[in-house]
């Protein structure tokens, strides 16, 4: 079969996975990615239904259309996996990330960091005379941009949650 460039094009996908919240399930998902050489750009997980003991995993990955299809089918093969949804192709969705960003410095740089934080609607959730910890929430691009701007202003540490995402509108997932 002819391999065309369209088939070879690599795209980023956000995939929502509903799994039984049991020990080992995250290892299965991660092992699947590492064992088959798929890449994980971001992965978040937390219980979302305590009654049914279900957790939701949001994975951001990239690959050709054939690889993304493989990833989803491989995920569906795992016994504790109940639903796999590709938010990127199943319709509009919203996604957010939260980052805690530590900036150390005094004087102008410190003032400038506050000013930029304001523009990004980042909140200072901890401060000392020589440091801030900002909390910034938004799409990955926005968080990236904020961190980039903080770099020259004394950025020392970043802790990010990774992406969580949900479909827009009344329908589930």
């Amino acid at each position: 079969m002819q391999v065309t460039n369209a088939i070879q094009e690599v795209n980023r996908h956000t995939i929502a996975v509903l799994v039984d919240n049991e020990s080992g399930v995250l290892a299965r998902v991660i092992g699947l990615f590492s064992g088959r050489g798929y890449n994980i750009e971001s992965l978040t997980v937390a219980e979302v239904d305590a009654g049914e003991k279900l957790s939701r995993i949001t994975i951001v990955t990239s690959g050709t259309a054939m690889i993304i299809e493989q990833i989803k089918n491989q995920l569906r093969r795992l016994v504790p996996v109940h639903k796999v949804h590709d938010l990127t192709i199943e319709g509009p969705h919203v996604s957010r990330e939260l980052a805690l960003v530590k900036v150390v410095g005094t004087g102008d740089k410190r003032v400038e960091s506050l000013r930029i934080a304001d523009i990004f609607r980042a909140r200072a959730i901890d401060s000392t005379n020589e440091s801030f910890v900002f909390e910034v929430v938004g799409a990955t691009d926005k968080v990236d941009a904020f961190i980039k701007l903080m770099e020259p202003l004394g950025l020392t540490d970043v802790s990010r949650t990774g992406v969580v995402a949900i479909a827009r509108g009344p329908n589930p997932i």
Binding site: M1, Q2, V3, I7, S23, G24, A27, R28, G31, G35, M66, E69, Q70, N73, Q74, R76, R77, L78, V79, H82
Partner: protein, 588 residues
């Protein structure tokens, strides 16, 4: 409060196994599973086969499962017992064999403490089982075991491991029967009817069709094999089978083109290459079959029926996927075909067969026989002719002998051919034959072996003798790791690096030492007598045939080559063609 029907974990376990229809357990005891063995001792519903190495227990369970369609059952101890079973589990995963492997584990309070004979076996086997469980509460035990059997046999079958801490099997709890357990695991078995209708239409309109049929049809069961044969015959279309699919349609059917792939026939590979419609039923486009991907059947539309969605569009993009169980889908296909009163294009089909007959005329499996030295192909042919009246089960080890067996035996019945295809595990044959014989005590069970592979699980001769399993082992002794030697000859300039085993045991004396019967033939003229003697004996036999060390398996698609670029034999110039190792068959 102690409930009146409270049982120990070990009692619960055995009750669950009985309720799951287990008759035989292949296993090996040790500290962590002593309470289970104690319970086994007290009952007589379940038989236990005491193997000599845990790897063999798993292969034996595979043989049992593949030849019966039931789930095979294995019981081993923690630590080294469990790690010894890993190769078998990986083998069963690759070839989709349903198994439940029960492993002992250190008591729950010691897990993670590097306790004596502790191994994180659920961690180790996560990528080589279909699923695995660690049972931490005796009240989950019955449910977990039932679910393990359900997962092993449903959808694409595979091995499931259940890890059992010693305190859990000693604790007391309640039993739950299978009827009380509801599993959320429900793979799709019915194919989409719209897609099936579309497929039938494509099949009826094809000009140069071929059925490419694999282990999925064998896995699906005797009904699927029958429906497959029926559909192939209804259409009159050619059909090729993968190594794992042999027996899915009768080997003697004129519509059967032989096996395809690396060591497949010219007619099968050429027809795959030139077809305009490929109808893949339960095969997975393995790299041993496709060869170089961008040279793989470039002119065809492709239909793919598979129960596992991840098999679809994995290696080869297809035009019409149908997810479902082969038996269900084939049944629907035949129904639709009849309802629509489909007719094939007779004229096109005649021309297509004429072309195929030309390829057939190359007689690619022929070989130059000798009256001085036993040719391995001749040995397999004689074995087939002299035993076919008994419908034997054939197992193999891995190597050249395996390929000659695949090429020269014919299977008119499914589930009579057992070989390690996906993992290619040397040492598979003898224990799997043991499992087959256990399931079919009256049958003739033959393991075709290489002198190297057989030594990987030779210790199981003792198990055969102990359990009176009259398995026949035919060693094609070519003095070499023949398949490795072949690659070295053809690809590595004849540098036979470590493929010659200079010393071998005297297999006749070895058989004798184990309490079995040893036979040997060194000349072609002795082969028939030796085979007849072997099958006349009602005990395990090793028959060593001294075969031509220089013989190679042909046809062969060299690594990195396509279906239409086969090397036909030692004289074929094609052998000098360079191939890239980017793609296709890169491993021996």
């Amino acid at each position: 409060m102690v409930h009146h029907d409270t049982l120990t974990g070990a009692e619960i376990l055995l009750k669950a196994l009985v309720d799951q229809g287990v008759e035989v357990i292949f296993g090996y005891p040790g500290g962590a599973v002593l309470p289970i063995y104690d319970e086994l001792f007290k009952q007589n519903r379940l038989r236990h086969v005491l193997v000599r190495h845990e790897q063999a227990a798993v292969h034996a369970a595979e043989g049992y499962a593949r030849s019966t369609g039931k789930v095979g059952c294995v019981l081993v101890t923690s630590g080294p017992g469990a790690t010894n079973a890993v190769t078998g589990l990986a083998d069963a995963l690759c070839d989709s064999v349903p198994l439940v492997c029960l492993t002992g584990q250190v008591p729950t309070h010691l897990i993670g403490n590097d306790a004596f004979q502790e191994a994180d076996i659920t961690g180790i086997t996560r990528p080589c089982t279909k699923h695995n469980y660690l049972v931490k509460d005796v009240n989950d035990l019955a449910k977990t075991v039932h679910e393990a059997f359900h997962v092993a046999r449903s959808g694409r079958p595979g091995p499931v491991l259940v890890d059992l801490p010693k305190d859990v099997v000693q604790a007391k709890g309640e039993y739950q029967p299978p009827s009380k357990v509801k599993s959320k695991y429900k793979p799709q078995v019915k194919g989409d009817l719209k897609a099936i209708e579309k497929a039938v239409e494509m099949i009826a309109h094809a000009k140069r069709p071929i059925f490419y049929v694999g282990g999925g049809v064998v896995n699906s069961g005797p009904a699927a094999c029958q429906l497959m044969t029926q559909f192939v015959r209804m259409t009159g279309y050619p059909c090729t089978l993968t190594l794992m699919g042999l027996g899915a349609i009768p080997g003697s059917d004129p519509l059967f083109l032989g096996m395809l792939g690396m060591h497949g026939t010219v007619e099968a590979n050429m027809a795959m290459h030139d077809c305009d419609l490929m109808i893949n039923i339960g095969a997975r486009f393995d790299d041993r079959v496709t060869g170089k991907l961008d040279g793989f059947s470039p002119k065809s539309k492709k239909i793919h029926v598979d129960i596992d969605p991840s098999s679809i569009n994995k290696n080869v993009a297809v035009d019409l996927p149908i997810v479902g169980d082969c038996a269900h889908v084939l049944e629907d296909m035949i129904k639709v075909w009849k309802a629509k009163q489909c007719r094939v294009d007779e004229k096109a089909l005649k021309a297509w067969w004429a072309k195929i007959d030309q390829w057939r005329a190359t007689n690619c499996l022929s070989f130059e026989n000798s009256n001085k030295i036993i040719k391995p192909q001749y040995a397999v042919q004689r074995l087939y002719e002299l035993t076919r009246h008994r419908n034997p089960y054939f197992c193999t080890e891995v190597g050249q002998h395996q390929m000659w067996a695949a090429q020269h035996l014919k299977f008119d019945l499914p589930h009579h051919w057992l070989t390690s295809g996906g993992l290619g595990t040397m040492g598979y044959g003898l224990p799997s034959a043991m499992g087959v014989q256990m399931a079919h005590p009256e049958a003739l069970v033959i393991n075709i072996a290489g002198e190297a592979s057989i030594q990987m699980n030779i210790q199981e001769m003792a198990t055969l003798v102990q359990h009176r399993l009259p398995v026949k082992i035919v060693i094609l002794n070519n003095q070499y790791l023949g398949m490795v030697r072949q690659w070295q000859e053809l690809i590595h300039g004849g540098r036979y690096s470590e493929s010659h085993m200079i010393h071998h045991p005297d297999f006749v004396k070895l058989a004798d030492a184990f309490g079995a019967v040893g036979l040997r033939a060194e000349k072609p003229g002795e082969v028939d007598e030796a085979i007849k003697e072997m099958i006349a004996v009602d005990r395990p036999v090793i028959l060593e045939l001294r075969t031509d060390a220089s013989e190679n398996v042909f046809p062969m698609i060299m690594p990195g080559m396509a279906h239409n670029e086969m090397v036909l034999g030692p004289e074929d110039k094609g052998r000098d063609k360079p191939g890239s190792e980017q793609d296709g068959m890169v491993l021996v």
